[in-house]
Point group: C2
Chain length 301, copies 2
């Protein structure tokens, strides 16, 4: 089978990680990179010198899918644009719950209308972690789940906070209580003379933070905080349930690479997908292995 030809839209951290992985992949190939017109002339690393760089996915001939690696606020627009041109998309949104379902529904309708598939929320969270959370709930049907994020790059959130005037550096962590409420701690390193309250208000007013309980801490140095990023997910059976169970997942990970790898795994599921929007929960895990599916079943089942 020929490799699946993929274009990368947006060449930030995740886009670069996707591109590097594609260079070494046997079953996926890099059709080209889509950048803003003002970035077109920016030099690329040696390895990408021969890769077409264009301003629109439609300019990449025979691309079979687009990996949307643009900032969160631009994902919906980029998705719509690709779908209108009949190009399947894969993205790693940062929405959850109702907001995610509404977004997915919008993409679903567009995808049906243009008769192409779209895979949404195919990153770390939502993404790989969603499969894990769902599996924990299946394995311990009656119980509570607790999720603790250590100081960690919440990529999209950090990108947003950094755009606030007066912010030199930022770090975001999140914590979900067992009742499901999300709390965000935002650590900001401010330019001299900047008003912390104004910055905090600007952050809380952004759609990415709306609805979350967001606490903003001005700190001396963000770099000093940046040690150890990770997550602990724990599910325990409820008191009085028939079996005492405890499942614990602990991860130390690089969110950029994990996001890129999950997006590429999702891309492997594209062939044969009917039009519509899919999350990773809608796809058999087997399909994420693409041409290696049979080996994966032998190895991991």
């Amino acid at each position: 089978m020929d490799p699946i030809r993929l274009g990368i839209v947006g060449f930030g951290k995740v886009g670069k990680a996707c591109a590097e992985t594609l260079l070494h992949s046997k079953d996926l190939s890099l059709a080209g990179i889509v950048r803003r017109s003002e970035s077109l002339t920016l030099p690329l690393a040696e390895a990408f010198r021969k890769v077409p760089v264009v301003t629109h996915m439609a300019a990449l001939p025979r691309a079979e899918g687009a990996l949307l690696c643009v900032p969160a606020a631009q994902v919906a627009g980029a998705a719509r644009d690709c779908l209108q041109h009949g190009i399947p998309v894969i993205e790693s949104s940062v929405l959850h719950g109702e907001a995610f379902c509404a977004y997915r529904e919008t993409i679903h309708r567009l995808a049906l209308h243009h008769e192409v598939p779209a895979i949404v929320g195919a990153g770390w969270d939502p993404g790989g972690l969603s499969i894990l959370r769902s599996l924990f709930a299946l394995l311990v049907p009656q119980g509570g789940i607790e999720e603790t994020h250590r100081i960690a790059d919440s990529l999209h959130h950090i990108a947003m906070v950094r755009q606030v005037v007066g912010v030199k550096a930022a770090l975001c962590t999140e914590h979900r209580t067992s009742s499901g409420r999300r709390q965000r701690y935002v650590y900001v390193e401010l330019e001299p003379g900047v008003d912390g309250d104004r910055v905090a208000a600007a952050i809380r007013a952004d759609p990415l933070f709306l609805g979350d309980d967001t606490v903003v801490f001005p700190v001396e140095s963000v770099a000093a905080l940046e040690q150890g990023r990770g997550l602990v997910l724990e599910r325990r059976s409820a008191p009085g349930s028939v079996a005492h169970q405890r499942l614990l997942f602990e991860a130390r990970f690089d969110e950029v690479w994990t996001t890129a790898w999950m997006m590429l795994a999702a891309a492997r599921a594209l062939p044969g997908l009917r039009p519509g929007a899919y999350t990773l929960l809608d796809l058999p895990v087997r399909d994420l292995w693409g041409t290696q599916a049979d080996q994966a079943v032998r190895a991991w089942l």
Copy 2:
């Protein structure tokens, strides 16, 4: 939607756990219990007094699926029998790797021939743990995996060992090295005067243990060993890979209940499945939630 009517074939630990869960389920219902003719008159717990008890699945009217909870050696026969009668099956086999693939292929052909679906390996391992292992490999593409089983009921293996003449009680543990080789430790409590070597030879000769490195330890008391059962699964990125990652899964669990719950989750995926054999890796996690799929996506994505 009407509840999915399921029959339970075999009324051992897993069969009873399935039955109890079905009594309290809204979307699944207990069509009846299939027992050997010599067990037909055995009394059932009060809760099951009104449940039909028969000697063959075909005797349960309008059953939409059979949960095969018989000993490992009888699963293939029970599956064949149900499929021949056009009844979809769900089972939790204990095979892995090539042996599992060959078994699956046999069931697949039967299922296609009789035009019904079958879900195989839908328990803990293979089963829920297979999804987890596969996901770990997707999240850390270049790395090694290590699996350590603490002293734990390997249900089918214990059942086999207990049938060896001279064995009073038994406990089996397994350990998989990072090279993938499986080692089994079998602890046996022997009747007075029984030859430990003869027992060890009988165990190693059983198909369940063939191909595994099996070490048999005669012990004073198996009950004394039975503290803490669990599993640790760890995946680390390979040295030199682009990101340093470590994923750890730790479980303390009851294998009987977990197996039952995964079988029932698989049963929820039955409606709409086309004929053929499926593993849990072939089914979207969403489908394991049945009528609760939309809620599950909102909650766990």
